[in-house]
Amino acid sequence: MKFGPKAASVAAIAAMTIALSACGGGGGTPAGPAAAGTTSLTLASLQDLKSFDTSVAHIGHTMPIFQTAYDSLIQRLPDGKLAPMLATKWEYNADNTVLTVSLRTGVTFSDGAKFDAAAAKANLDYFKKAKGSDAYQVASLGSVDVVDDSTIKITLATPDPAFEYYLTQAAGLMGSPKALGTPEMAAAPDGTGPYVMDKASSVVGSQYVFTKREGYWNADLQKFAKVTIKILPDLTARTNALVSGQIDGALLDPKTGKQAEAAGMKLNSSQVDWQGLLLFDRDGKINPELANVKVRQAINFAFDRKTILEQQYLGQGTVTDQVFGPESGAYVEGLENKYNYDPAKAKSLLAEAGYANGFTLKLPSFTGYEAIVAVITQQLGDVGIKVESVPVPNANVVSDFAAGKFAVAPFQLYQGEPWVAINQMISTTALYNPFKATTPELQAMIDAVHNGGTNSAELAKDVNTYVTDNAWFAPLYRLNQMYYTSKAITVTPQLQQAVPSIYNYAPAK
């Protein structure tokens, strides 16, 4: 009875005091000094992977976990340039429909099987057949032929300017042909990658432990003896783990970032996503008002982007009026500042469109977007557009968008390669174009990109200009990815990727 409630409450009060003073800033102790010659890397992932089956691999947060165990055909360097990996050389034919790929020899899978042309074909065929979440990457894939033991010929049904990029992502991951689609592979990866999973120490949904593979073909990609990836979906847990020195790297946000910085963590910032409104209903199926381009433009003029960014994200980002990123190739400098904050203009545009008294818009609200929805509601309200927010469970968000339940939605999308971006939100098959809106003019521009080969990025500028001029979206800003690392390691951010590739980490010198 020594440790009575009184003692406990005293401790709690003391703890509260310390916690608050720490919150006040300056209280945090820096993480322990980096041990010289760090040989282990521990990262937090905010998402768990569905399984280690390559067909469910998905662009984004879980990609580094796959990269740890699987090599892809092509490696995408941090700046977005492509480099040989399991493919040593690749080349399109004249009309961009046949890709001939030379493969690395002398590489084996972790089950001992040999990596060769047959294995590569088996993987691509499997990926197409399995229809995983990233099946769109092989939508244009016609057939794969084995030319010789170390060469394959990939025939595309239609040109795909992003296909090489896809081979750096899920579609390019190579698993042991014997294991493809088996429960064993779902439970534990079987690839040619730099690390192999330590099954005994790994728990689905909690952490995955990998150890360095002996005899890996490229020692430069194996900088650690051990890689641990902890699944920490909760932002607070990630912050605590990083600040207390349990992990070496994690994606935080500008607010928790302040705490990490106080604890001596290093920020590796990059821009991946744009945030804003998706004005789905360009044909006016739910809200006839939105069919009028003036209304959509009015919405764009209603936002004080700079203030929102400053207040909501502590200025961690860049305001923008377009949905294509600067590195994408489709970026048009001249489009910026097109929709500078101008509520008077927004009101007059609404009046010109015949909605001087405004109208009502239903906006989905979901976890993580509460604050921004409140901001949007306020700003649109200020120009006369009344917003009713409808709570939507997070699990239903994307499907509700896809099902066309909302005319407008706040969201955050990554700024990928132009062709990827077009197929994500602009083309008639794009998920984020649920009403399949288009115009002949736009369709012609899209077709040009499709068949544009190496010139496709340049051609995509027209698409960008069109959707910006016609206010298909109301982008607000590109957000900084707040990726923090401990002093024990260094990392290079990866272009257009939520978190750095596993190859980008190195022990601190």
């Binding site: 399984s51 349990q246 509700d400 896809a402």
Partner: protein, 313 residues
């Protein structure tokens, strides 16, 4: 005795069936978007439709339920729709974590609450007031606030414990202790005072009983009266409270599991219900209900052992 247990087990099975059905019906209403969620944002509508057929989501409710129940009876809970991990495997990995956390916490709560509650009942005075006040405070502070304070103080500032769990199968006892210490303390702070309050009332009630006076008149020491007689008679009330706390914690640890990143049932429950991973939700619900039924049975058996009157009837 045996018939009593058999009867209870039979009743438990009926309860289990009823709860399975209720849960399944509830999930039926929330299963509209599952195929889309499984396939991801890039899947085509055709793929989604095909997936729905593959999962049997196009079937009527009763067909789906009986198909599931038919497998469940044989111990086959299927595989998670989202991770393809067998449900039994997923639960086997996570149950020990949650169960260890809850059982350790409840044992500590039982011990501390008994001592505090008895002290408060017997001594009254300041200790009584402290227990009473602490009970109110313990009730009033949300559990996660306590957890956050503990993490900030003991994990981030003092670095005595890890901020997030590092439990993996086969991890040593040291890892388990280090990972569970803070969550257990958080549960303890939240639960002990309420428990002590209940024990206090039960003990006071017993102390007012005639037989206590008679025992005193027989020259039995106060200590023996308290620990042997009063505690025994007050125990059923305490046990009931503890069993309710236990059941509450099974679900309530979800917040702690999130803060401490514990790979437990709670996290699984939140994840699977929000995603609509029906096989996994059903697995979580069934396992939880089975535990609840076992705990209730144990409590009844212990009560019977404590109270011979109940034993006979």
């Amino acid at each position: 005795m045996l018939t009593f247990i058999l009867r209870r087990v039979a009743a438990g099975i009926v309860v289990l069936c009823a709860i399975s059905f209720i849960t399944y019906v509830l999930l039926y209403f929330s299963s509209a978007n599952i195929a889309r969620n499984i396939l991801g944002e890039f899947a085509s509508q055709d793929q989604v439709a095909a997936k729905e057929v593959a999962l049997g989501l196009d079937q009527p409710l009763m067909t789906r339920f009986f198909a599931w129940a038919g497998h469940a009876i044989t111990g086959d809970f299927g595989t998670s729709w989202f991770t393809a991990e067998p449900v039994v495997h997923a639960l086997e990995n996570r149950l020990p974590v949650t169960l260890t956390l809850v059982v350790v916490a409840i044992v500590l709560i039982a011990i501390c609450a008994t001592l505090l509650g008895m002290a408060a009942a017997v001594k009254r005075g300041w200790i009584d007031r402290v227990v009473q006040t602490a009970a109110v405070v313990g009730d009033a502070i949300p559990g996660f606030v306590i957890a956050i304070v503990l993490v900030t103080l003991f994990a981030i500032q003092l670095k005595l414990f890890p901020a997030t769990s590092s439990i993996v199968p086969g991890a040593g006892a040291d890892v388990w202790i280090a990972s569970l210490a803070l969550p257990v303390i958080a549960l303890l702070i939240n639960g002990v005072t309420g428990g002590a309050q209940q024990i206090r009332s039960a003990v006071i009630k017993q102390l007012e009983k005639d037989y206590v006076r008679t025992l005193r008149s027989r020259g039995i020491s106060e200590r023996e009266i308290l620990f042997k007689h009063v505690l025994r008679s007050a125990a059923p009330a305490g046990l009931t409270v503890l069993s309710l706390q236990f059941i509450g914690m099974l679900g309530g640890v979800v917040i702690l599991e999130q803060i401490f990143a514990l790979p437990g049932m709670g996290a699984l429950a939140v994840q699977s219900t929000t995603m609509g991973d029906i096989p996994l939700v059903m697995g979580v619900v069934l396992y939880t209900v089975v535990i609840v039924i076992i705990v209730n049975l144990l409590v009844d058996l212990i009560n019977g052992w404590l109270n011979p009157k109940v034993r006979v009837s």
